[in-house]
């Protein structure tokens, strides 16, 4: 069952493409941000998957445990999650301002209104 070892990566690819599809295909700006979050989470899962070691436990040193998972991806993703939510908040703030200025958050309607003015 060699292909089972790659199963996690395929989940990641599916989630990533779903996120990408939402970002490209949907016109609603908030939906786009949700899509970005989905994409982001799939990248997180990819990193954590790479760090997993068979039979390992969480990387907190304790007596009697020999095998730990790789701590480095955990560190990178830990900071990335918090930075991700900060940037999402910035994006939402932009959406709110756009809504106030144009009265819509649909991409194509925005373009129309831009042309009118």
């Amino acid at each position: 069952m060699a292909w089972l070892g790659l199963y996690n990566y395929w989940i990641v690819v599916f989630l990533m493409m779903a996120g990408l599809y939402i970002v490209i295909a949907r016109e609603n700006l908030i939906k786009k941000l949700v899509g970005l979050n989905v994409f982001q989470a799939s990248v997180f899962i990819l990193y954590i998957t790479v760090g997993k070691v068979d039979g390992g436990t969480a990387p907190i040193i304790a007596e009697g445990i020999e095998v730990y998972s790789n701590p480095l991806p955990h560190v990178l993703i830990l900071t990335a999650i918090v930075v991700g939510v900060a940037t999402t908040a910035l994006g939402l703030a932009l959406v709110v301002r756009i809504n106030e200025a144009y009265g819509t958050i649909e991409d194509d309607e925005l373009e129309e209104r831009e042309r009118e003015t």
Binding site: L15, I30, G51, A58, P59, V83, V95
Partner: protein
């Protein structure tokens, strides 16, 4: 998880979409626990399912919470996503298998961190010691990014009372 994402793609009510993205985050957190990343799972549960859902709802209160139905079907984006996905799956065929202790990622600096953390920093949680000590510069940068995002939100959303009144006169 895949089902949640499918529903996020299909649903038009943004309220439901935001709730589903919270559930998606929780599921991701569970997955991180299974993959031994307790710190990450902790953060994902607190941030993804907690704060970011609340923020999204806060933003939804300010804008319309219903997405309009698109007039055209989105064949081209679907095609683009499928092609890119196929390319990525092809790429994974060469990846080291799940949990392989001999993968390149496991052989580089990680063993050093695991061996040295307790003698050099007296901190048993390796994630914390790598975060704050070995990779202090990275974390400093991340903190500055958060600072910048906070300042950005303040600039965009703060002090609106002053600005709106001249805007009204202009209309």
């Amino acid at each position: 998880m895949a089902a949640t994402v499918f529903m996020i793609v299909r649903l038009r009510s943004l309220f439901a979409v935001v709730m589903l993205s919270g559930i998606y985050s929780l599921l991701a957190a569970v997955m991180f626990v299974v993959l031994d990343a307790v710190d990450v799972a902790f953060t994902e549960a607190a941030v993804g399912a907690g704060i970011s859902t609340v923020l999204m709802l806060g933003a939804l209160a300010l804008v319309k919470s219903e997405e309009k139905t698109p007039e055209r079907t989105a064949i081209l984006p679907l095609l683009a996503a499928l092609v890119a996905g196929a390319a990525l799956v092809y790429g994974t065929l060469d990846m080291p298998h799940y949990g392989d202790p001999n993968a390149p990622a496991q052989k580089h600096v990680a063993p050093t961190y695991l061996m040295e953390s307790v003698p050099k920093t007296t901190v048993p949680n390796v994630v914390t010691s790598v975060l704050a000590s070995y990779r202090g510069y990275d974390t400093l940068g991340e903190t500055v990014v958060i600072l910048t995002a906070g300042v950005g939100v303040l600039l965009l959303l703060g002090g609106r009372r002053r600005r709106r009144k001249p805007g009204k006169e202009g209309e």
